[in-house]
């Protein structure tokens, strides 16, 4: 976590405020997170990404990806099965840590096991 704070101080991390509870329990409403614009996006990354057709940024898990499109997912609320896959160019960065809770973020969804049919 100290490394993340240092990278934030060096402006290699940027802050976003989470609005809403669709990423509960891994992220909660009002939580401030750090994102890395240069980190490699992979399956089970948490990313801040532009919505495919709304003028907003969303925070979601990455469920799948190829060279151009990213399949976004969250335990609740809307995700790629509802609004489609997002262009990889819309990714603002990979969420690395929670500034509010002063901890690194998990590398897989806590609720994944119980949500898999």
């Amino acid at each position: 976590m100290l490394r993340e704070l240092l990278k934030w101080a060096l402006q290699r991390r940027y802050r976003y405020r989470v609005s809403g509870d669709s990423m509960h329990p891994d992220l909660v409403d009002g939580e401030v997170i750090l994102i890395s614009p240069s980190a490699q996006v992979g399956v089970n990354s948490i990313v801040v990404c532009g919505h495919p057709w709304k003028q907003i940024d969303v925070v979601k898990w990455v469920r799948g990806l190829d060279t151009e499109l990213i399949d976004l997912w969250s335990p609740q609320g809307s995700h790629s099965q509802h609004f489609g896959r997002a262009d990889a160019a819309l990714v603002r960065g990979v969420a690395t840590a929670s500034l509010s809770r002063r901890c690194l973020l998990p590398n897989r969804p806590t609720s994944l096991a119980k949500d898999t049919p």
Binding site: G20, V58, S78
Partner: protein, 149 residues
């Protein structure tokens, strides 16, 4: 802390907004799409030709299966929105089997995903019709159910 976070860019993690617009047609359309893909998969047969033909067949079936999975999941999502957001306790009084109807419909969505079962698809569409009738009955409107396919 609020002083330092109030102007941060926002990453939205909202659930569906309270627009108040509901229509069971959304579930019916995706259920029909899932049935269509099920039928296409049952009607598509493995070629006896060369490697290219078999590869093309595998690619086609994979695409059909992906679309079927997505459409059945979308159907479940649309049904759950109706169940949890539109219907209220007074609707349950008028339709005592409301919870069973949605519970069964959600399970039928899973059955459509899991196999290539046209009977399961038809059962899901029948559930969509039942929910259509309950929904428009609750709104006091007479709206005919129809299929696009």
């Amino acid at each position: 802390m609020a002083l330092f976070t109030s102007n941060l860019p926002v990453a939205e993690a909202h659930c569906d907004g309270p627009c108040g617009i509901y229509d069971p047609a959304a579930a019916r359309i995706t259920a029909e799409a899932a049935r269509s893909m099920t039928k296409k998969m049952l009607d598509t047969h493995a070629p006896a030709g060369d490697d290219a033909a078999r590869a093309n067949y595998a690619n086609t079936m994979a695409r059909f299966a992906l679309i079927k999975e997505e459409q059945a999941e979308a159907t479940k999502h649309e049904l759950l929105i109706l169940w949890t957001d539109f219907f209220k306790p007074e609707h349950l009084e008028a339709n005592p089997d409301l919870h069973d109807t949605f519970w069964n419909a959600a399970k039928q969505c899973s059955a459509v995903k899991q196999g290539l079962d046209l009977e399961a698809c038809d059962a899901l569409i029948a559930s969509c019709e039942k929910i259509h009738n309950i929904f428009w009955g609750a709104k006091g409107r007479d709206v005919n159910f129809y299929l696009a396919g």
